[in-house]
């Protein structure tokens, strides 16, 4: 059988499907940002941004950008009615003490025990930067990863043990990739769904890891 990977917007829509009205959510920089485009109209989801926003809205119309009103990726955004501003220590208090229901983060690697690597390749020539990644990884009620299943070189990002420097220990609860949805339960990958035409056995072989 043949299968088709989800494209980025399809993946974002899949993640959005599991975010329900009333949830407080932080969408990480990059791929996770796309999830915001897929909430049904009139469903109230509360988006938090580490730089001190709650109730973040869509990007402004061209020409209406306000560079005092940006998201964690420094892109102009808007604030919904009912939103609020606060300082960085209050913002991270929110992120670090389990007040957010979900943090959706990108990843370089996720290990079977839930270890996450998403901040540094480990290459000494690379400039390291961490931002709020470690805070989100361990601070939210649930940490979800949203990523392409394979690197550009075709290497699986699901691993038995992270080889990249980790962002957080045993912090990932669920993984959404362009091929599958996988939970982490008791230090094991538990396959929840795959794209049409892709069997669990195939995915396991492609990924080089076992599913339970």
């Amino acid at each position: 059988m043949s299968y088709t990977k989800l494209n980025r917007e399809q993946l974002a829509a899949r993640v959005a499907r599991d975010i329900h009205e009333g949830m407080y959510v932080n969408l990480g920089i990059g791929l996770p940002t796309l999830v915001a485009n897929h909430f049904p109209a009139n469903v109230e989801v509360f988006l938090q941004s580490e730089n001190g926003l709650l109730g973040m809205g869509a990007a402004p119309a061209k020409g209406n950008e306000d560079f005092d009103l940006v998201n964690a990726g420094k892109q102009p955004v808007t604030l919904l009615a009912g939103g609020s501003f606060f300082h960085s220590a209050d913002s991270f208090a929110m992120m670090r003490a389990g007040h957010l229901d979900v943090a959706v983060l990108g990843a370089f690697q996720v290990a079977a025990n839930g270890d996450l690597a998403n901040w540094h390749t480990g290459n000494p020539a690379d400039i390291p930067a961490v931002g709020g990644a470690m805070d989100l990884a361990v601070g939210a009620k649930q940490t979800w990863v949203m990523m392409e299943h394979f690197t550009k070189d075709g290497v699986s990002k699901l691993v038995e043990r992270c080889s990249y420097p980790i962002t957080g220990v045993r912090c990932v609860k669920r993984i959404y990739t362009d091929l599958a949805v996988i939970d982490i339960v008791s230090d094991q990958f538990v396959l929840r769904e795959t794209v049409a035409g892709l069997s669990a056995a195939q995915l396991s072989e492609l990924s080089g890891v076992s599913f339970f």
């Binding site: 950008e65 005092d68 501003f85 670090r96 390291p128 470690m134 805070d135 420097p165």
Partner: protein, 231 residues
Amino acid sequence: MISKIVDSVAAALAGVDDGATVMIGGFGGAGMPTELVEGLIAQGAKGLTIVSNNAGNAEFGLAALLKAGRVRKVICSFPRQADSYVFDALYREGKIELELVPQGNLAERIRAAGAGIGGFFTKVGFGTELAKGKETREINGEMYVFESPIYADFALIKAEQGDRWGNLVYRKAARNFGPVMAMAAKTTVASVHELRELGAIDPEHVITPGIFVQRLVKIPRAATIAAGFKA
């Protein structure tokens, strides 16, 4: 009559000594007190330790300070930017020290200094390279890392409005690190776009009470618009 308002950036930055620790507000451009950082270049202090979320963009502001060779060490969470080439080059050449801190630890360590906390335990960073060598402790079955306060000699921050007692309000997401840095520094210098009469800022809306601010200087907004200010 007390007035903390000074009439020039130079006066606002008097007394920054070589080797000082200087906090600089802002998250990228939002809340970055660009004119104060440029004033610091003119002021001449060197061997500085800079505490800021980022490490400068292109060749203005903090990047210009780095380029001028005034900074010995940067304590920040996210030095790498699309246009952080000044920092990147200095770092690769081993000409600048970097203490990389998760952003929440950065904010909380700064607050700790401002709140009289001698140190605290956080789960953030446990088991990672950024916690290497740090004390750890199990609390209620979870692992925590000990983090220490970050104190500063000066904090340079940007606010929207201020009054002669030093009360400040900020604008939107430009608030970010300003309020906690103001608490952590011996001398806090705030640039404001508007000076208000005493009492014109509603006491319910004050974000940084004047006790945390030692000097204010007015910088017209026009000068700081990189792009797109919307009233």
